[in-house]
């Protein structure tokens, strides 16, 4: 317990590797050799196209995937050796809200909290408070989740994570696919988390503006590697041309040699080609 509060870094990854077997003797490498540190209270963004390994990274930290090699430490606890200890201090929000569809938001939330040892009596007032603060109509807490909009479901997913008071939040494309209005709301909520909850955050996204606006440091991820990692300001300086400060999109282009859209389009094309060959 004390160890956790004394740890200097929320997250420390050294040379984390993961590959998945596709067929016999055929592997896809999701993480080549990833090293990254998130200091306490820091928000670090991972910016990368589809398939670059962001979700695998988040799953390795959430103890859902065991890495093939490397070191994963969360508050100085080895996540591979002591997953149970790590699990108490982290929570995660992913692209899909992932709830029991027919259960209500209240039911989903008190269930989610109980898995972390939080009783009804402790969670219910907190649920009302959090839902109130995200503008959720409390008259709807007993409606099935599936009746709620995607944006609302995503906010409730954030509420579920907050209920367990995580010290490290893993956000895996929390705003992807949301309408602009919900996107803004969710981003505001994330911004609020660092002020009110004293949490460190790892935020994966493929939205440049989101990364720039919310993160202290940004890592650019491509094909299972983090190829650059720094503050937005330093990244822009590093890749400036003719004394002109580039925007983050230009930084991404300079670092990877192509725009996010081009990389994704190319990848899609390759996959279609492969599928066509079969």
């Amino acid at each position: 317990m004390d160890k956790v509060y004394q740890a200097e870094n929320a997250l420390e990854l050294r040379d984390a590797m993961k590959r998945f077997k596709k067929k016999r003797n055929e592997y896809s490498t999701a993480l080549k050799s990833v090293s990254i540190t998130v200091k306490r209270g820091e928000v670090v963004g991972i910016l990368g196209p589809n398939g670059s390994g962001k979700s695998t990274l988040v799953r390795v930290i959430s103890t859902l995937i065991i890495p093939d090699g490397g070191d994963v430490r969360v508050f100085d606890i080895d996540a591979v050796r002591h997953p149970k200890e790590v699990q108490r201090h982290i929570n995660r929000v992913s692209v899909e809200a992932s709830f029991f569809k027919k259960m209500s938001s209240m039911e989903n939330l008190i269930y989610g909290a109980k898995l972390y040892g939080v009783t009804d009596r402790e969670s219910k007032p907190k649920i009302r408070e959090i839902l109130g603060s995200i503008g959720f109509d409390l008259n709807r807490v007993n409606e099935p989740m599936e009746h709620l909009s995607r944006g609302m479901q995503q906010k409730i997913a954030l509420a579920r994570a907050l209920l367990t008071s995580p010290m490290l939040m893993l956000l895996d494309e929390p705003t992807t696919g949301l309408d602009p209005r919900s996107k803004k709301d969710v981003q505001a909520l994330i911004r609020g988390i660092r002020h009110t909850h004293d949490a460190s955050i790892l935020l994966c996204t493929h939205d440049m503006d989101e990364a720039e606006e919310l993160c202290d440091r940004i890592g650019i991820m491509l094909d299972g590697d983090i190829i650059a990692l720094d503050t937005p300001h330093a990244l822009k300086q590093r890749y400036q041309q003719d004394g002109q400060a580039p925007n983050l999109e230009e930084v991404f282009m300079a670092a990877t040699g192509a725009s996010m859209e081009d990389i994704e389009a190319k990848k899609l094309e390759e996959e279609e080609k492969k599928a066509g060959v079969k």
């Binding site: 103890t63 859902l64 992913s94 709830f99 269930y111 109980k114 898995l115 972390y116 939080v118 402790e122």
Partner: protein, 276 residues
């Protein structure tokens, strides 16, 4: 952060309650489906009862045969329910899309499976009582000498083994998301075939009889039939109870252990879930 200060056992206990309560919520939300399923199972039991009535001539043997069949139907509907709920632990959550959130929570796998079992037992008993009442309205059952207490003890001991069986079966979808549930299904139908639910196992080929001897359902049925139809005392049921106690002591810990191995395998190979 009040939950972080709680002792470990208390957090696990709260989580056990969480799993049981979640399954209650699901039953509530899928109530009409559960009701339809109960009606179907009850109709099925009744039709089997009528087979008994049709097959025999004298009133005495009819009542005996019908009682034999209906005890089998009822006990199987309860035990297979336990098996199904446990063995669907993984596939259900995969379908809902919640599996990663369950597996990244600090609740232990034992807690997860025990919470699920507690709910399954309560749910199964409620269903069985409803079915029993319905059935007894239709048939003249031979239960005048019944020793309900002894039957209950046999059923309770058997429930523990079935829960363990279900846990072992639940691991299949972790090993193979595509084929796992099918294997589970085969497992369940093998239990149905060899355990002597609608017939004494002596009518089976020898190798099937051998399989019956490792099925907890077989001991439960024979023991419960002896208790209900002949009023056998608990002491004389010992030969059914001790194999059940042994299986009950082996299967659940084995089930949890196998499940944990399956979980490690799924986490190494990325089979828990893959999307996003």
């Amino acid at each position: 952060m009040p939950h972080l200060g709680k002792p470990h056992w208390l957090r696990e206990l709260i989580a056990v309650w969480g799993f049981a309560q979640r399954n209650y919520y699901l039953t509530k939300r899928y109530f009409w489906w559960d009701l339809v399923w109960l009606v179907y199972t009850t109709a099925n039991a009744l039709s089997i009862g009528f087979i008994g009535v049709a097959a025999q001539q004298s009133a005495e043997t009819t009542s005996q045969f019908t009682t034999f069949l209906l005890i089998g139907t009822l006990i199987w509907s309860y035990l297979s329910m336990l098996f199904d709920i446990l063995s669907e632990t993984v596939s259900w959550e995969r379908w809902e899309g919640t599996i990663e959130y369950t597996f990244m929570s600090p609740a232990s796998r034992a807690t997860h499976l025990i919470g699920t079992s507690i709910y399954a037992v309560i749910y199964g008993i409620v269903r069985m009582i409803i079915m029993l009442v319905t059935i007894s309205l239709f048939f003249d059952l031979r239960l005048s000498d019944a020793n309900y207490g002894a039957a209950f003890v046999v059923l309770a001991v058997c429930s523990v083994s079935l829960v363990g069986f279900g846990m072992v079966a639940a691991v299949m979808p972790l090993l193979s998301p595509e084929k796992g549930q099918q294997v589970t299904f085969i497992f369940g139908s093998a239990l149905l075939l060899v355990s002597g639910i609608y017939y004494p196992i002596d009518v089976l080929p020898g190798w099937m009889q051998a399989l019956a001897k490792v099925s907890p359902v077989y001991y439960a049925l024979d023991g419960i039939r002896a208790a209900l139809m002949e009023g056998a005392a608990l002491g004389s049921l010992w030969r059914y109870i001790w194999p059940l106690i042994i299986m009950g002591a082996i299967f659940p810990p084995l089930g949890i252990w196998i499940f944990q191995q399956g979980e490690q395998f799924a986490k190494r190979t990325g089979r828990l879930k893959r999307s996003g």
